[in-house]
């Protein structure tokens, strides 16, 4: 109950932002929120299943390009274009997930990276279709359906992004607390044991990779009509590396942490890269500092104080008594 109140409060606060800040700042915030959504999607794999992806840019790029091409070539309303873009990305994610989950550990990470780089290379290969290194520009934001057009303005688009972010968060939270999510936790803790309990772990891993691609491609799909153009860099491995670092800095396995990590670092990057060229150095040292000093990330630091007073989830009536006895 208290948690719902906090979420409602955060959403309410988000909703008044467009009234307070100038247009340029709003642009930065929208971009940061989209990246927060992107980081959260990766957390399903990294934080909850301990599947380390070095190629999550593939999800972002797929969502961005498929939405761009749909909006450009078909006269469809923006929300429908986004939905179709995400659907296409999910379909493409199925064989990717099937192949990647054939391996584990480092080779899994390398395979995800390979698929992202494959996407990058295909953009150049099919130049006529994808615009090659020029990317695709002039992507419209068509109104509709039902005469909806609020997302054509900047503040309206902000609300669309907030809606998608909060909706995705609630969905992801439901997933990780479900029986399915419990199996993911089992795979994270000990995959051999999970299989020995009768779970087809490969199928669960495939499912979570596809889900992560789905939410990640939604972030990409939201980025496209907002920026108005897409470029092959969206697929580039630097994007994959950056989002992985944001998940870890934000606090892997918390959903909300990676959102904060994504938002925080996009805003920080935008501010600092204006005043200094040393931004990557700062980014890197912050990462190292977090790994060494605060492995639970930003969210871990924020909640540390409360955790010690609150019971751990799954703590029964007898938990405290037996702990006192032992």
């Amino acid at each position: 109950m208290r948690e719902r109140l906090v979420i409602a409060l955060i959403v309410a606060l988000l909703c008044i932002i467009p009234l307070l800040v100038p247009t340029f700042t709003l642009t930065l915030i929208i971009e940061a929120l989209i990246f927060g959504l992107f980081a959260m999607s990766l957390d399903l794999m990294v934080g909850y299943t301990r599947l380390h992806s070095f190629g999550h840019a593939a999800a972002y790029g797929l969502g961005a390009y498929s939405t761009a091409l749909i909006l450009l070539h078909f006269n469809l309303p923006l929300p429908i274009g986004i939905v179709i873009g995400v659907a296409i990305s999910i379909i493409i994610a199925v064989p990717i997930a099937w192949i990647c989950t054939k391996s584990t550990g480092v080779s899994f990470a390398m395979l995800t990276l390979a698929f992202a780089q494959l996407g990058y290379a295909m953009i150049f290969r099919f130049k006529d279709f994808t615009g090659g290194s020029d990317g695709i520009g002039g992507i419209p934001r068509p109104a509709g359906p039902f005469g909806l057009d609020f997302f054509q303005s900047k503040s309206g688009y902000f609300y669309l992004v907030v809606f998608c972010l909060v909706g995705s968060y609630l969905l992801c939270r439901a997933i990780v607390t479900s029986p399915f999510g419990a199996v993911l936790a089992g795979i994270r803790e000990n995959e051999t044991k999970t299989r020995a309990l009768g779970y087809n772990t490969r199928a669960y891993k495939m499912s979570v990779v596809i889900m992560a691609y789905g939410f990640g491609s939604l972030a990409g799909a939201l980025y496209t009509p907002f920026a108005g153009f897409v470029a092959p860099e969206l697929f580039f491995w630097l994007v994959s590396g950056r989002v992985l670092i944001m998940v870890i800095i934000g606090g892997a396995g918390t959903l909300i942490g990676p959102i904060l990590g994504g938002i925080f670092f996009m805003l920080l990057e935008q501010q600092l890269s204006e005043v200094t060229q040393l931004w990557p150095l700062i980014f890197g040292s912050t990462f190292i500092a977090f790994v060494m000093l605060a492995p639970d990330g930003i969210w871990g630091l924020l909640t540390k104080h409360f955790r010690s007073k609150r019971p751990v989830p799954g703590d029964g009536e007898d938990g405290g008594a037996s702990r006192a006895a032992s």
Binding site: S178, P179, G186, T194, A196, G314, S322, R323
Partner: protein, 249 residues
């Protein structure tokens, strides 16, 4: 018809034949111990039956169905639960959640990606019952990784029982336990086995434990079955004496 039947199971690693044409039939309700010196092929046999390793030759039947070549999770879904020689747990989850995930595996809802808490009720009830049975209720809320080694061994057995298996395979359940802990584990196992109609295969080094628990004993030596029968018969067998028991008696 035996519950589990192995026909000519063989597995070689390069030139080494770890399991050599093993025939074994286990009737429902039986408690069978598989013993033998180190390297006799006991764990390999376990791994073949549960589908971890494919056999080089031979077949396994479970309740009349050929299960050779099934992936691990399908063998388990048929009703065979196992524990590992080296403890395998979910260290960062509570003891109750460890057992609950095990119970959930037999549940039709195990795939549901969205669910209210009522879906967890059935598996949670089984988890609490099983913890009670293994006398671990006091530790339900504690992370499995923080339990003592002895309690971890018992927790792993609890996870296997929570799957409601037809055949329970225990790989050295008292491995690494102190004498007191072993006595406690044996006591709990005996109580549990006296109650249920479980069929059990037990790999064990501790002869005292074997003679306390087993109805029948199969002796492996260099991958081959050298004796098979009631504990008294096996004890009296000359070949077994020289291969294995000789040093102990």
């Amino acid at each position: 018809m035996p519950l589990l039947e192995c026909r000519g199971l063989t597995r070689s690693f390069g030139g080494l034949v770890a399991v050599d044409s093993v025939n074994m039939a286990i009737e429902a309700g039986e408690i069978r111990a598989v013993i033998g010196p180190n390297g006799a092929g006991k764990s390999t046999l376990f791994n073949i039956i549960t589908g971890v390793l494919p056999p080089s030759d031979g077949e396994t039947f479970f309740a009349g169905e050929r299960i050779t070549g099934f992936p691990v999770y399908r063998v388990v879904q048929k009703g065979i639960a196992r524990t590992f020689q080296l403890t395998h747990l979910f260290p960062d989850l509570t003891a109750r959640e460890n057992v609950r995930i095990a119970a959930q595996a037999q549940h039709a809802d195990r795939w549901r990606p969205m669910a209210g808490s009522h879906v967890f009720a059935a598996s949670r009830r089984i988890a609490d019952e099983t913890l009670e049975q293994m006398r671990l209720s006091g530790f339900a809320g504690i992370k499995a990784g923080l339990l003592s080694h002895g309690d971890q061994r018992l927790l792993e057995i609890a996870m296997a029982i929570a799957q409601k298996p037809r055949l329970l395979m225990l790989d050295e359940p008292t491995q690494g336990l102190s004498i007191e802990e072993t006595d406690r584990a044996v006591q709990i196992l005996r109580d549990m086995l006296a109650k249920g109609d479980l069929t059990v295969i037990l790999v064990e080094h501790d002869m005292e434990v074997v003679f306390k628990l087993a109805d029948k004993i199969t002796v492996l030596h260099r991958g081959r079955v050298i004796a098979d029968g009631l504990p008294a018969e096996v004890k009296a067998n000359d070949e077994v004496q020289s291969a294995y028991l000789g040093g102990l008696e």
